[in-house]
């Protein structure tokens, strides 16, 4: 491999990454009508306490009911979420009178309800179709839907079987559509849906936005209503011009909120985290290929593309902080993207230090995994920038305790990933040479130290926060216990190393157990349904945890195999000498 390839390959890779980014960033949103719906989407409104663009409302609820942020009509043509929301807005009074109307409103015919369970489809007498999305109209035509829901509602939640859960979820989704058609939003607790705050109050200091028909700020409400009226009749010119007028007025009345809403719409369209998720996957592929051929240029390409991705990831975090006005971690979703960011950042730093190619792939794998997890959580959660409970409403502690603890999780995960790399390389490949052992061992040790520092400081800062807010430094709450388990485990590994009880391999195996401990602290403790930090039980998360633990235990078992079964050592008859003349080397140590 000559020097030119070593430069050209990374350059080309980075170029492709940046180009795809620019295309995503500046591509106009898909146009399906002459109506300026993309402009309509930037209008600010208030839902669940936060001022956000209508676009976010449309996307989050569509995500919840459909699992996607766009929907396809009967011909398979893609439409943006905002079109669905706008159609829903004109599906309730005064635009649509349910008593006199002979036909279902248009929005009810959109195929957005996701029903993937074959059993449920059978029960509802629906035919499985490509994409598994069904319309409310289809569902309402089935006379037994209400009946089935009624039957499930009579049961106790603890007696629910799988179909009951699915039916309950489907019913919740139907209720979301019904609520939105009345321009209301479902509230988190079981209460009645509340008015979507479409109209800002006339007093600029009042921050309680009101519904379209609340009677307050009539002037704006009439303007908005007229806009929807034109929309209902498909009158593009009139709709567009009334939208322009309304937008101008809102810009004047609420300049800060309007510009933030515009930025958030741009952020939604750009969807940088989705791009990052796929880009990380490409890095993984590049790394895998680098183990077979083109080692040096592909490794460099992976590194520099990762740097580009991390920049985008950072931008996404900062953008979310700006939109929310909060430190980066406020809920499970944001913790996942923050942990991903920290993992990649830390791995890139390690890669820069050790240049072994392993840190690269570990970082990209962790980045892709956490973003995938976050994506999944967004489907469950809806708006990922929800308002915080009173006790959490403190930027100082969110910025210190929460960030520190999450970085502690991050570093522990990175150590675990390096441990996995060690085990997989040693057991399944002949590549684990002395150089590799040394390089991986040092990297793991460094990350472990970092993990211990952050998890300890973060945990104690949490205690101090607790002392500040309810006078108890330490309450032995499940989440606190989870955090302290991470600290103890990391400290235990370090002490076992200093005691000479374990060396590189032992540490690698122990760091994989660290993954189990972090998963327990991160998700597991929430499933117990007790304590101050409990976010509620989630069957999928519990199962996900269990599966993750089993995989980690399998890796631990593999790592504990006698060395004669390790491919890297078997050739040398389990002498402590690894195979000679390895085909793969760390790029430079």
């Amino acid at each position: 491999m000559n020097d030119r390839t070593n430069i050209v390959v990374p350059l080309v890779a980075v170029g492709i990454a940046v180009l795809s980014l620019l295309m995503l960033c500046f591509a106009p949103p898909a146009k399906t009508t002459d109506l300026h719906l993309e402009q309509f989407g930037t209008l600010p409104c208030q839902a669940n306490g936060r001022v956000k663009p209508l676009d976010t409302v449309a996307r989050t609820y569509l995500m919840v009911v459909s699992g996607r942020q766009a929907w396809a009509d009967e011909d398979g043509k893609e439409h943006p979420a905002i079109e669905w929301l706008a159609d829903l807005f004109v599906s309730g009074p005064p635009f649509y009178d349910r008593k006199t109307a002979t036909e279902m409103p248009l929005a009810y015919k959109h195929r957005v309800l996701r029903i993937e369970s074959e059993q449920l489809l059978n029960m509802l007498e629906l035919k499985p179709r490509q994409g598994f999305r069904y319309s409310l109209a289809e569902l309402n035509q089935k006379p037994n839907f209400e009946e089935l829901v009624e039957k499930t509602r009579k049961k106790k939640v603890s007696d629910y079987d799988d179909v009951d859960h699915q039916l309950k979820t489907l019913y919740d989704h139907v209720m979301i559509i019904e609520a939105l058609s009345l321009r209301k939003v479902p509230s988190r607790d079981e209460d009645e849906p509340r008015d979507l705050g479409l109209i800002p109050p006339a007093d600029p200091n009042d921050d309680s936005w009101v519904g379209l028909r609340s009677g307050q700020n009539q002037e704006k409400a009439v303007q908005f209503g007229l806009m929807l009226f034109h929309y209902k009749h498909g009158d593009a010119d009139k709709f567009n011009s009334s939208l322009e007028d309304y937008k101008r007025d809102i810009d004047q009345a609420r300049p800060a909120e309007a510009s933030k809403a515009r930025f958030e719409t741009f952020f939604n369209n750009f969807a940088p985290l989705d791009w990052c998720m796929y880009a990380y996957l490409f890095v993984i592929v590049a790394c895998c290929i680098s183990w077979m051929t083109w080692t040096k240029p592909l490794n460099a390409a992976a590194f520099w593309v990762s740097v580009v991705i991390v920049c985008v990831h950072t931008f996404a975090l900062i953008a979310r902080m700006y939109i929310q006005g909060r430190p980066p971690v406020t809920n499970l979703y944001s913790s996942a993207i923050f942990i991903g960011w920290g993992c990649v950042g830390l791995c890139l730093f390690m890669e820069y230090l050790f240049k072994n190619g392993i840190c690269n792939v570990a970082g990209a794998a962790l980045g892709a995994a956490t973003l995938f997890l976050a994506h999944y959580m967004a489907v469950e959660q809806g708006d990922t920038m929800e308002m915080l409970q009173a006790v959490l409403d403190t930027n100082f502690w969110l910025a210190t305790h929460v960030v520190c603890v999450t970085l502690g999780y991050t570093a522990t995960f990175v150590a675990g990933a390096l441990g996995i790399a060690y085990i997989v390389m040693g057991v399944a490949t002949p590549f684990l040479t002395r150089d590799w052992i040394k390089s991986l061992g040092q990297a793991t040790y460094g990350v472990l130290c970092f993990a211990t520092l952050l998890s300890f400081t973060g945990t104690v800062l949490g205690g101090i926060w607790a002392d500040q807010s309810w006078g108890r430094f330490w309450g032995w709450d499940p989440k606190e216990n989870g955090a302290v388990l991470i600290v103890i485990w990391n400290a235990l590994i370090l002490h076992a190393r200093w005691a000479g009880l374990v060396k590189e391999r032992g540490i690698a195996v122990m760091t994989v157990f660290g993954n189990i401990v972090v998963a327990w602290s991160y998700f597991g403790t929430n499933q117990l349904g007790v304590g101050l930090h409990a976010y509620g039980f989630n069957k999928h998360l519990a199962t996900g945890c269990a599966i993750f633990w089993v995989t980690q235990l399998a890796l631990i078992a593999a790592g504990s195999l006698p060395l004669k079964h390790w491919r890297s050592f078997s050739a040398a008859k389990y002498a402590p000498q690894p195979v000679k003349k390895p085909t793969m080397k760390p790029v430079s140590v």
């Binding site: 839902a47 209460d191 040092q442 460094g446 002490h495 005691a499 000479g500 060396k503 032992g506």
Partner: protein, 456 residues
């Protein structure tokens, strides 16, 4: 870097353990095995000390702590947090039920819900492990103490940890917690413990000043006759139930004994102490009046529950008043009160929500504090301070800390949590010390590594 006497003989000479079979490498911070002990010259105390100071013991103790914390977390599925803290962390040993791990399997691994495995096993609890770690740590420093820049970080970290263990012990032993509930525009001068109860006989004749005689649960539980010079009658505890359920068969309120809950928090079911008492003329057998007293009547949440279920209704409202020899008395069983030398008046309570939601945004209590001063035998109140207590921003006053903890139903007033904890500052120092120590220790390692790399 030298660390501790750990192994007899180095790995090269010793039996091939799993460790020694591992790949041997000249890692920079690899533990250097200590030379075999010089058997004769070492003082036996020092030899014992080095056994206690062993790093292996540290690892074992940490592993035990790990298990204890895990079990103590699982135990909270069923039991209240306070009983778990008492059993697992602030005690010397604990019996861990095997069923906990079955529960774990049921939540995560879909084990059938009906499964149940009886039995439990003993395990060292928080105090044992905490003290063992403390002794292990202190003797390690005693044996291997060496003041050098290289070890400055480690010493700082461990000093911080010692401070933390000691602080937690002090908290466990000496911290006192109570609640102060005040309705808006009213005052209070006492805290309520939410863990202990008492039977109180209050002379309410003077509307301005009441005199109380209280019988703590620890005495009432034993039953018998209780006599007090301030009372013109004796109190006979006929029956005392540490926990009970109320019934109203035939319209009459009755208490039925129930087994004691292991938990002490609301969700796990609170114990509801109840007693049948008779007031008897002093020195005679003449009954003045009989009472049924219960926490069911005095605890706000419990009372509301009993009212809502119709167990207590307008016909059978529990009687708690007595007029005897021209004096009026009030008899009740209530949360233990701690009277304070100050009075707090709630001027305003605010409970804000995010617009258009039920999500609370903030609670705050605007209060006024008056100190009680004894001048010439007269109790007087002196205005001390006006302040607002907000979530995350408590008031510290006379060694006690007042936190915004909750609110009375219907936002009628505030509930403050009041804590006196002589060890409250220790975690702050400890956190600072340990963090600093780790930065120094790991930072030194990193810098050494980087400079070595640059040199190579």
């Amino acid at each position: 870097m030298k660390r501790g006497a750990i192994k007899k003989g180095g790995p090269k000479g010793g039996a091939p353990t799993a460790v020694t079979a591992d790949v041997q490498l000249p890692v920079m911070e690899a533990p250097v095995e200590a030379a075999p002990r010089a058997r004769s010259k070492v003082h036996p105390v020092k030899r014992a000390l080095s056994a206690v100071a062993s790093l292996r013991l540290t690892v074992v103790l940490m592993a035990l702590s790990l298990f204890l914390v895990f079990a103590g977390t699982l135990a909270q599925i069923d039991a209240g947090i306070w009983s778990v803290v008492g059993q697992y962390f602030r005690s010397w040993y604990v019996w861990v039920p095997v069923q906990l791990f079955v529960k774990f399997g049921q939540i995560f691994f879909n084990l059938p819900n009906g499964w149940s495995i009886p039995g439990s096993f003993p395990f060292p609890a928080g105090y044992t492990l905490g003290f063992a770690l403390l002794i292990n740590l202190l003797s390690a420093h005693a044996v291997r103490f060496k003041l050098s820049w290289k070890r400055a970080g480690v010493i700082t970290i461990h000093a911080g940890l010692v401070l933390m263990l000691v602080g937690e012990f002090i908290t466990g032993q000496f911290a006192v917690e109570g609640n102060m509930s005040i309705e808006t525009q009213l005052s209070s001068n006492y805290l309520e413990s939410k863990q202990k109860v008492e039977i109180a006989v209050v002379n309410t004749t003077d509307p301005l000043e009441n005199f109380e005689v209280v019988i703590p649960a620890s005495i009432a539980r034993k039953g018998g006759v209780i006599s007090h010079p301030d009372l013109p009658f004796d109190v006979v505890i006929d029956r005392y139930f540490a926990n009970c359920r109320l019934g109203n068969e035939g319209g009459k309120l009755e208490a039925f004994e129930e087994p004691v809950n292991s938990g002490a928090n609301a969700s796990a079911g609170e114990d509801m102490p109840t007693a049948y008492i008779t007031l008897r003329k002093k020195g005679g057998n003449e009954t003045v009046k009989q009472f049924l007293v219960s926490l069911w009547f005095t605890d706000w949440t419990a009372r509301r529950l009993a009212d809502a279920k119709g167990i207590i209704n307008s016909q059978n409202k529990p009687d708690h008043k007595l007029t005897y020899e021209g004096q009026t008395y009030d008899v009740s069983l209530r949360w233990q009160r701690m009277y304070k030398p100050y009075t707090i008046t709630l001027e305003e309570f605010k409970h804000e929500f995010y617009p258009g939601t039920d999500t609370p945004r903030n609670y705050s209590s605007k209060i006024h504090v008056d100190r009680h001063v004894d001048t010439d035998g007269k109790n007087q109140e002196v205005a001390e301070r006006d302040t607002t207590i907000v979530m995350n921003s408590p008031m510290r006053y006379r060694g006690e800390t007042f936190y915004q903890s909750g609110w009375l139903p219907g936002d009628r007033g505030t509930v403050l949590q009041v804590v006196r904890n002589p060890g409250w500052l220790m975690p702050y120092f400890s956190c600072a010390l340990v963090t600093l120590g780790m930065i120094v220790h790991f930072g030194t390692y990193l810098i050494n590594y980087l400079s070595r790399r640059a040199a190579a």
